[in-house]
Every structure is written in structure tokens, then in C-alpha cells.
Amino acid sequence: MTSEAAESAEAVGTIAPTADPGFLQRHGGAIEYVLIPGAALAGALVVFGIFVMLFGKNPLDLYFYMYQGAFGTWFSWQNTLTRAAPLILTALCTALPAQLGMVIIGGEGALLIGALSATSAALLLQGMPPLVVQIAMVIAGVIGGGLWIMLVGALRQYRGVNETISSLLLVYIALAILNHLVEGMMRDPASLNKPSTREIGAINMIGSIPGTDVHWGLVFGLIAAVAAYILIYHTVFGFAARVAGGNIRAAKIVGLGVSKLILTICFLAGGAAGLAGMVEVAAVQGRTNANLAAGYGFTGILVAFLARQNPLAIIPVAILLGGISASGGLLQRRLGLPDASVLVLQGIIFVFVLASDALYGRIGFLKGKS
């Protein structure tokens, strides 16, 4: 089980085995936030190993190919980072409203609407300088996705509609709108088998970071995550949001505009997912079609929960889960596992991570002496 141990050690990061009780007292909480999700991840990998063993596959091969496919070579690293980019952005769609105590799981819908808006902007502005088109695409993607999730927030605030259910229903509605437009008004007559919009044009694609095959979407994601972190933890606005998330009545008593907070946060959350849609169009697909509903929005929910809704922690977690999905192809080719095995593993990880919530504050040696 050496490679598995390596996997888990990698996941856990640096465990700090020190005898100094003062150190544990000071950093016990922070260590918990690394140790417990890491242990949950390791547990999920073990269970998944047993699962594939039932189908006659060697779990050691599984871990080896997962590592190879995710982080083994420069090629797989690039694949991983390319997949991590939209995951960072869709995870923000769940993590930002979570600061207010809202559970929004409709990032996939905002991604699709963002992609549609960005594509529309690019098609309307054909012939303009590429930079103008690209900026317009970013703005359109953010506004499209932002308004989509802002609708969820408004329904919650003004009508009391549960945000979890409404955001998920809106995913299916967004997919219907996308299919309707792609097969109707916006259809490129040349796209026969796979109805699509017209291409935004090679010149308007945002391209790769120099020296790599990783597109600029990764930088968008990193900037968005850091900005979200600063917003939540280092501004008055973020402080107000966390107060409202902790105790909505207290927030009202001290005079916080809760409606404004909810609508703004939801707009930013949806804007992030919409940007993910723009990135997928402008860096990968080049057009809008049903391929965009690739499940980034749903994996983003898992990323947000695994990162404990912390915008900065989302970055490494998104890379990790991007790696898992990047390794799917290799698992399919070398081990003959179905492509859904990535989904199964994600599901197991999610279950373990949630169950591990029960462990916080209960690990004896991290409590120190007080």
C-alpha cells in the first residue's frame, strides 16, 4: 500500500508532529482544517480502492494511474490545471453564498448562462479588436451568470423560496434555454450532428499562458479566488456577510442591509460561475453547445465543501479534483474502468468529507491543554 500512503501523505500535506503543546494550542484549529479533510480524502481513496478491487482491478494500479494521470507528468499537470480553472470559479458559486448560510448548488446553470451570454457578446461584436471582444465576453459572462444566481437570492429573500432547490431547478431551466437557443435562433446551420452556435473566431480565443498548454482561465480563477478571500476576510462588506451568516437577527438588529448583502453575494457567486462558462467558451470550445454541461458546476459544489467554503483553500482543492477528473481518461484506457468511475470517487469523497464534519474539536491530541 505504498503508493496509497504516498497519496494520502500528499493529500494531508505536512503533518506537524511536534511535542510542543503551545504549538498545538495555537495552531490546533488550523491543523484540523488540513488533517481532517486530508484523512477524509485518504479514507475515500481506500474505499474506492476496495470498490475497484471488487471488479477485479488492482487498487495499487489504480492509485498509480491516478497519480500518473493527474500529477505524474508535465502533460498531466497541464491537463489537471486546465480542468481546475473552471472548478475554482464554480466552487466560488457555492462558497460565497455559504458565508451567508445559503446552500446554492446551481453553479452549473450559471455556467451555462454565462457561456451563452459571452458567446452572444462575441458574435455581436465580430470584427472588433480581439481585446474588446474578450473584455465584452468577460463582462457578459459575469453579468449573465450573476443575474441568474441573483434571481435565486432574490427569490429566497423576497419570497422565502428555498435556495438549494430553486438553484437546482434553474440548472435544468438553463439547460433547456441553452438547447432551445442552440437548436433554434443561435444555431450555426453548418453544425449538423451537434447543434452549436457559430464560432466566436480563433482570433478572439483567450489562448494559453506562454510556455504551457494551460489557458488563461486558470489566472482568472486564481484572481477571483484571491479577490473573494480578500472580500470575505478583509473588508467590512465581508465581515457584514459573515455576521449575517452567523446570526441573521443580530445582523438586522445592528442595521445591516441583509437584502443588499444577499443580492450582492449571489451576484458575485453567479458571476464567478458565469466567468467559468465564458472561459470554457473562449479557451476550450470556441462556441456554445451542449458539451458545456460537463458537470463542472456539480464538481464545484464538492470543491467548495472540501475546502470548507474558504476561497483560498478552494485553489488547492480544485487542483486536486481537477487531477482526479484528468486521470479519468488514463483509468479508462489502462484499467478499463468506465468513465463514471470519476463520478463514483467524487461521490465517495463528498460523503467522507461531510461525515468528517463530526470530528472537528474531537481529536484528543490537537486540543492541547487548556
Binding site: V161, I173, A176, P338, V342, L343, V344, Q346, G347, V351
Partner: protein, 308 residues
Amino acid sequence: MADGSIGLWTVPLAVLGGAIRVSTPFLFVSLGECITERSGRINLGLEGTLVMGAMSAYGISYLTGSPWLGVFAAGITGALLGALHAGICSLPRVNDVAVGIALMLFGTGLAFYLGKPLIEPTAPRLPAIDFGWWSDIPQVRAALRVNVLFLIGVALAPILYWAFRTTRWGLLIRTAGESSDAARAMGHSVLLIRLRATMVGGFLAGIGGSFLSLFYPGSWNEGLSSGQGITAVALVIFARWDPLLCLWASLAFGGAAALGPALQSVGVTSGYHLFNAAPYILTLAIMIITCSPKRTLTGAPAELSITR
């Protein structure tokens, strides 16, 4: 009216047929979720349960040749997923909404994984009862081909309504949902009541899934359920946790879901995808109309996290 040329009457007929045919999964999932939510817990994972139920029913029906064994297997699969949900939720500080989301992803993923070899073969399907024998019009006959599961579901709704009101189990479930302290004071384990309620809910949702793969549409593929499970969960909320209202709401939803294919069959193809989204739009619209930010919903179990 000549045979086969009933013109635009096709649409209401198909909607009626759809109300009967398409509503069955909605009905089973919503009744199951109704039991779970009455006990004070919400299981959003029933979307995954529905897909797992559909896959296992198809697999067992294919392997044994008996669709009814398939239905039973789907129920058992659903109950196991329900037990998993309840088991994780009984840990301290674990959020039932989040666990439901996790199981939604897990159930769908597992069903796709295990169901890969089932896309090709054809499994024996559930038989239908012909209530349209009196008519010469094929569309009427098609609309009235009713599956036994639908009849079971229709019978189950009033039975559950009665059981919630009068039986010992019904009262226990409601007590756990209204006040866990009261249930505990009576000497009952709230976690155990919720475990059983979630397992029964999962059992019913699994059976709802078996209908998808064994009757209508009647095959296994990865696009089989697109949100029927989650729509049914939402449906319980505006049915006010009342099994009888769940029945009517499911019928309305079945009709709405049949609208797209019905219009397509008479040549209205332009808004096909939008009409297919009708159940989701309808759910959202009804939730917008019936919810209120000022008060909790009437009939809502007090312990339910989602309405607090």
C-alpha cells in the same frame, strides 16, 4: 370523428396519458420524501436514489427475467441509500441538505458506473393493464395503458394520509418531525425513527426509479432521469407534506412533462426544449407563489432544517 384523425385532440389526450404515465416516478418519490420529511429530515439525495433504482431494477430484471424482482431490488437499493443518508446524518453536526447533495452525486455516479453494461441489452418490462379497450381510437388506448405501479401509488397516497393521522407509527414519525424533544421524552430514539423513515422513503423512491427503466421510457440510459427526483422533493414542499396533495401535484406534473412530446407529435416543434422544462418552470412558479418570507409554511414539520 374518424379513426386516427383526431387532430388537436391529440394534445389533451397525450397530456392525460402523460399525467398517468409520467407522474408515477414523481408520485413514488414525493410520497417517500413526504415520510422522510415528516420525521424531520430532508433527503435531497432521492435524485440519486431514483437513478440507482432505475439501474438496479433494469439489471435485476435482465438477469432474472422477472421485472417484479427488479422492482423489489430497486426498492432495496433505495432503502440502503436511505440508510446511508440517515447513518451519516445521525453523526453530530452533519448537515442533512449537504449529505443529500453528496448522495445525489454518489447515486448517479454509481448507477452510471454499474449500469455501463446495461445500456445495450433489453430487459423484460413491466406489463400494463389496458383500460382503453372500449375505444377504437389508438391515442385513447395508448393514453389509458396503465401500469400496476401507478395504481399502487394512487392507493398508497390515501393509505399514508390515514396512517399519518391514526396509526402509532404515523404519530411517532410526526412527533419526531415536530419536536424531537417530545419524542425523546416519550422514550423513543429520534435517530432510529428518522433512520426508518428515510429507509422507507428511499424504498419508495427506488421503486419510482424502477418505473422509469421498466415501463416508461422503459430502457436504461444515462439520460433517464433529469431532475425528476429533485422536482419531486420540491413538490412535497408545496404539497404541504400532505400525501393526498402529493398525488394531485404528481398528476399535474406528469401532465406538464408530457406537454413537450405531445406538442411535438402534432407538429409544434419550435419550443420543444422549453416545453420539456415545463415541470421545472412549474415547480419554481408554484414555489414562488406559495412561499412567503414572513412565515414558515403551514404544515411544515417544525424540525425540518429547510423551512426554518
